[in-house]
């Protein structure tokens, strides 16, 4: 039986400018600017962070596990999200959401939060020191930073089956959800001199399976840090994705992956297309192939292009939805919208790119790049084309190209404004966000699976939230609304 696909996205934003041009300082200014304007100055609680634990059941001593930085700006927002400085980037980790559409809304809310933080920070900086944020994944010079998705998966799904079922999707989904990139920037990519690639991230992947996120990046990341009941749940940490400006692309990226994971839980890996024989080669060569037709050999001795993989995977997901209703993913209307959009985008990238330029990021960017290049007869190396690429992701309304190419929104401005401040109803993020909004003076720290209170006397009290589907509005709204103080809330929870 498949379980509810609780999901969310974490995004590290590109950052430029600041008083001393130091990205760590500038990132701290961004996070602190937003935290100090808002109601939250609540710290993140690092209890339960085990990024070096490997899902294959051992700690790999040869790999470089990320170091948890505890001294940098780090806060919890009233919408249940985490806003902090990760390495040298400001990062927004969305609250846990219950459906792909909801997770898309909270990703867009994160963009709006970053935009507001940039505005607040720049109000107190000289114009020459203004900070700019970019929702992208690389600087064009070989440095990449991540957009990671997270999905709740049953613990008893064999990890080998996860690899077997999901590698075909992770190497090929860039044909519909890639964010596009002018040129190449790694040794692996530069050898081929591509003028344009489907994905920002593809050329940075070097392994099929592994624990790292910063070196030797793997297609399947084995970080085993469930942030929930480890007996029942796994959190699949997906690092092979681009930051999307198109809301529909984010929706299809999340929804297609969630549907396929649910199908794997329900029916096992047998119905999935075979793995490519060389997955790292596949993800990189697919990124460079704008014809979408180049096929790679697979374990069943057939050859498939990225488009072929996506076509087969769409049928796997569609038949899963027909057989089960896919209610663990979303309402039937939302699942229908998801499958329709995925199908239209997939058909469009092959037959009629103009028709999907309002949804597929790489197509939208590619049209502007190639249109500008041909209008002024520029060479592929012209800096203007790379500037277009960067400014596609620029968060400043005055400079954003994504805001000018006619991308079709999925959420209304009103919904985004609500999601900036309020948590989703249907996961434990509701309880976290509400506690931060209602009792900020009594909360010492919070993290994904607990909130820690200091009532002023006695020991600190940690409220555990190890089930992502508890702590919802339905389960806790009445108690929260009748508890005027944190003390009353804790008494109520004890009863």
């Amino acid at each position: 039986m498949a379980i509810a696909k609780v999901l969310g996205i974490e995004t590290e934003y590109g950052i430029a400018g600041g008083p001393d041009m130091d990205p760590i300082t500038s990132s701290s200014i961004i996070v602190n600017a937003y935290a100090q304007m808002g109601r939250t100055r609540i710290n993140w609680d690092f209890e339960g962070e085990t990024p070096d634990m490997d899902a294959r059941g051992r700690v790999d001593l040869t790999s470089f596990a990320p170091i948890v930085e505890t001294h940098l700006a780090n806060t919890v927002l009233t919408n249940g999200a985490r806003l902090y400085v990760d390495h040298a980037h400001p990062e927004y980790s969305s609250p846990e959401c219950r459906t792909p559409r909801e997770a898309t809304l909270y990703d867009v809310a994160g963009e709006e939060i970053m935009r507001r933080a940039m505005g607040i920070a720049n109000d107190s900086l000289e114009a020459s020191q203004a900070i700019t944020l970019y929702k992208n994944n690389s600087d064009g010079k070989g440095n990449s930073y991540g957009t990671h998705e997270n999905y709740l998966v049953r613990r008893d799904v064999e990890f080998a089956h996860l690899i077997r079922a999901m590698v075909p999707h992770f190497v090929s989904r860039q044909v519909v959800v890639g964010a596009g990139k002018v040129g190449a920037e790694t040794e692996a990519g530069l050898d081929y001199h591509p003028s344009f690639q489907l994905s920002q991230r593809a050329e940075f992947f070097e392994e099929v399976v592994g624990l790292e996120t910063t070196l030797k990046r793997p297609i399947i990341n084995t970080r085993d840090e469930p942030h929930s009941d480890a007996e029942r749940f796994r959190r699949l940490h997906v690092i092979i994705g681009d930051a999307n400006m198109s809301q529909t692309a984010t929706f299809v990226k999340l929804g297609s992956t969630a549907l396929l994971l649910a199908c794997l839980e329900e029916f096992g890996p047998e119905g999935f297309p075979a793995m490519p024989k060389a997955p790292v080669h596949a993800v990189r060569s697919f990124a460079r192939d704008l014809t979408l037709r180049e096929a790679v050999p697979c374990d069943d001795n057939r050859s498939r292009s990225a488009w072929d993989f996506q076509d087969e995977l769409w049928h796997v997901a569609n038949s899963y939805a027909l057989r089960t209703g896919a209610s663990v993913i979303a309402s039937s209307d939302e699942v229908t919208l998801l499958l329709t959009q995925w199908r239209e985008m997939l058909d469009g990238v092959l037959d009629d790119r103009d028709a999907v330029a309002d949804r597929v990021d790489w197509v939208a960017k590619w049209r502007v790049v190639t249109g500008y290049q041909s209008r002024y007869s520029l060479t592929e190396q012209n800096a203007k084309l790379r500037a277009i690429d960067l400014q596609y992701h620029d968060l400043r309304p005055t400079h954003s190209l994504a805001q000018r190419v006619g991308l079709r929104p999925l959420s209304t401005d009103e919904e985004v404004r609500e999601a900036v401040h309020n948590p989703p109803d249907s996961t434990r993020a509701y309880f976290r966000g509400q506690c931060v909004a209602r009792y900020p003076e009594q909360i010492v720290a919070a993290n994904w699976d607990s909130v820690v209170f200091d009532l002023g006397e006695g020991p600190l009290q940690r409220v555990p939230m190890i089930d992502p589907l508890r702590g919802t509005r339905a389960l806790t709204a009445e108690l929260l609304e009748t508890s005027a103080t944190a003390s009353e809330l804790l008494d109520g929870l004890d009863r």
Partner: protein, 64 residues
Amino acid sequence: MTERERIQKQRSERAKTSSSEVTVDATKGDQLKADLDDLLDEIDEVLEENAEEFVRNYVQKGGE
């Protein structure tokens, strides 16, 4: 017929494109082309003035 069966049906029918659909698609295509031309007309006002310097100075530390 469920919603999803309808999608599949529409999909299979989509292959046999009728002449009227071609007309609709062509009109939509022209509109998109016009929108792109409008954007290309204005884009220099939005692009960073010194593209070369802007691109060169955009250097990030790796993350994740």
